[in-house]
């Protein structure tokens, strides 16, 4: 592959920035939420916050799967996997996420068989290669990862592989957006819609946000130009008093989504009546559970799950940061007790978590910190 030296169109970036400044009404303050953690990471990394005018504010949304998972679910998964014949398999992102008695990596140091996998299909392969063990795949993610877990469940069933199960923590993005819009302390003007989630679900599921809630949504790519163009598209709608769903990321996201992926999800998953989100509390129909036709491969239907509920460490204000009410640096633990090396809260673990992104890219810039703290 040939690498390009620069991002697509530095000239276009300059033009998009000019257009944002032209469109932004100086008498108005715009609050735009980027739903996806990948966007949050990109916004900090590329310094886009510094590029935007003061009155166009980007609010970080709930789209970091590691960050929104309540600690109780980690505890439940680790408790299940504590049996001697178990292998606990999860993506690398999960490994340093603290549970009440330590992270999966710390459990591993104490002797639990914990493996990092890069694909759910690899967890299935672990089961195939370790017939005397039970492999539990600790599944996390939004609609981007859920279809891969779904196909893996289908493959396990077809193959009749019975020493494999999924501890399912898959969540769906739309109910989280609804919860944020319903939250009384949240005032938003529009949304930068998630890119890769939308390759699966398409753009239609956002239409109620535009029609019923009256907020424009622009599904966006991840390059600086993509994000700036999406802000331009949002501001154009706001200036015209419109609210519709637009797709800035057409080169990857089909309007109708990915039907094969949606079919795989429908075959294996159904909606949970409710699910707890860190920071947002219980949200109805916001997560996926495995259908009873796949009970054999569902850790929760097959084994007894403790169903632990744990409140976050008192001093940590993950919930407020997650909802965009507080900036990361306004949390009492930020960069003191809680750092990427020694995370207290999950937002400091994942590169998509706003605390980790803020720590890595903004924390070292004293001017920006002063400004954020003054907000």
């Amino acid at each position: 592959m040939k690498f390009v030296d620069e991002f697509r169109g530095p000239e276009l970036i300059r033009k998009a920035n000019e257009e944002i400044r032209r469109l932004a009404n100086p008498n108005r303050h715009y609050r735009i939420m980027e739903v996806c953690g990948g966007h949050t990471h990109a916004i900090y990394r590329f310094g886009l916050k510094d590029l935007l005018p003061e009155n166009v504010e980007l609010i970080h949304g709930p789209g970091c799967p590691v960050c929104v998972l309540p600690m109780g679910r980690i505890d439940d998964g680790l408790t299940l996997a504590a049996r001697p014949d178990f292998i606990f398999a999860a993506f690398g992102d999960m490994m340093r996420v603290p549970g009440t008695h330590g992270s999966p990596l710390e459990y591993k140091a104490r002797g639990m068989d914990v493996r990092i996998v890069y694909s759910p299909a690899d967890a299935l392969k672990l089961a195939r290669n370790n017939p005397e063990k039970h492999v539990m795949f600790f599944a996390i993610g939004f609609e981007t990862t859920a279809p891969s877990t779904a196909l893996t469940l289908v493959r396990a069933k077809v193959e009749g592989l019975h020493n494999f199960s999924v501890f399912c923590n898959h969540v769906t993005i739309i109910p989280a957006i609804r919860a944020i819009l319903d939250s009384p302390d949240m005032r938003l003007d529009g949304f930068v819609g998630p890119g890769h989630v939308s390759t699966v679900i398409g753009c239609r599921p956002y239409e109620w946000i535009a029609k019923d809630a009256g907020k424009p949504v622009v599904v966006s790519g991840f390059e600086p130009l993509d994000i700036l163009q999406s802000v331009v598209m949002l501001l154009r709608q706001l200036e015209k008093g419109e609210s519709k769903v637009e797709n800035q990321y057409k080169r990857v996201v089909p309007w109708e989504g990915n039907n094969a992926a949606l079919r795989a999800m429908a075959e294996t998953f159904e909606l949970r009546p409710y699910f707890e989100w860190r920071g947002l509390g219980f949200i109805s129909q916001s997560a996926l559970k495995i259908r009873s036709s796949y009970a054999q491969w569902d850790s929760e239907q097959r084994f007894t799950v403790p169903g632990v509920r744990v409140t976050d460490p008192k001093a940590a204000q993950c919930g407020e940061v997650l909802k965009g009410v507080l900036k990361p640096a306004q949390c009492k633990l930020f960069a003191r007790e809680c750092t990427p090396e020694q995370p207290v809260g999950a937002l400091m673990v994942s590169s998509e978590g706003s605390c980790a992104a803020y720590y890595n890219y903004e924390h070292r810039k004293p001017v920006t910190i002063t400004r954020a703290a003054a907000n």
Partner: protein, 103 residues
């Protein structure tokens, strides 16, 4: 988590049309094509790969842009680690089951 890694389809498995070998900046690994079965890619096509599954077909130019985005985000190394980590195939380079998993 939401890393999407661009790769080029090199060959489709003759025994299983839902498995393909992809090339990601010189590293070759198997990926699952099950999520693209409605419009299956052919050798030479570029795809975005997510946790071992091809998620969407893209153009070569977009593949280059995506790799550049990963590099600038400081995620290129993680992406390559992820691709190398895909243990979807047993017989590559004498890899033993479980090898390549970060210990």
């Amino acid at each position: 988590m939401c890393l999407a890694i661009p790769g080029r389809i090199i060959e489709i498995d003759s025994q299983n049309v839902l498995q393909a070998v992809v090339d990601v900046v010189g590293v070759r690994r198997k990926v699952d094509l099950g999520l693209l079965q409605d419009a299956p890619p052919v050798p030479g096509d570029w795809v975005l790969i997510h946790v071992g599954f091809a998620m969407s077909k893209i153009s070569e130019a977009d593949a280059a842009d995506q790799m550049q985005t990963l590099m600038t985000l400081g995620e290129a190394q993680a992406a390559m680690e992820e691709v190398r980590g895909y243990g979807l195939d047993d017989d590559e380079e004498g890899r033993q089951p479980g090898q390549g998993l970060v210990q």
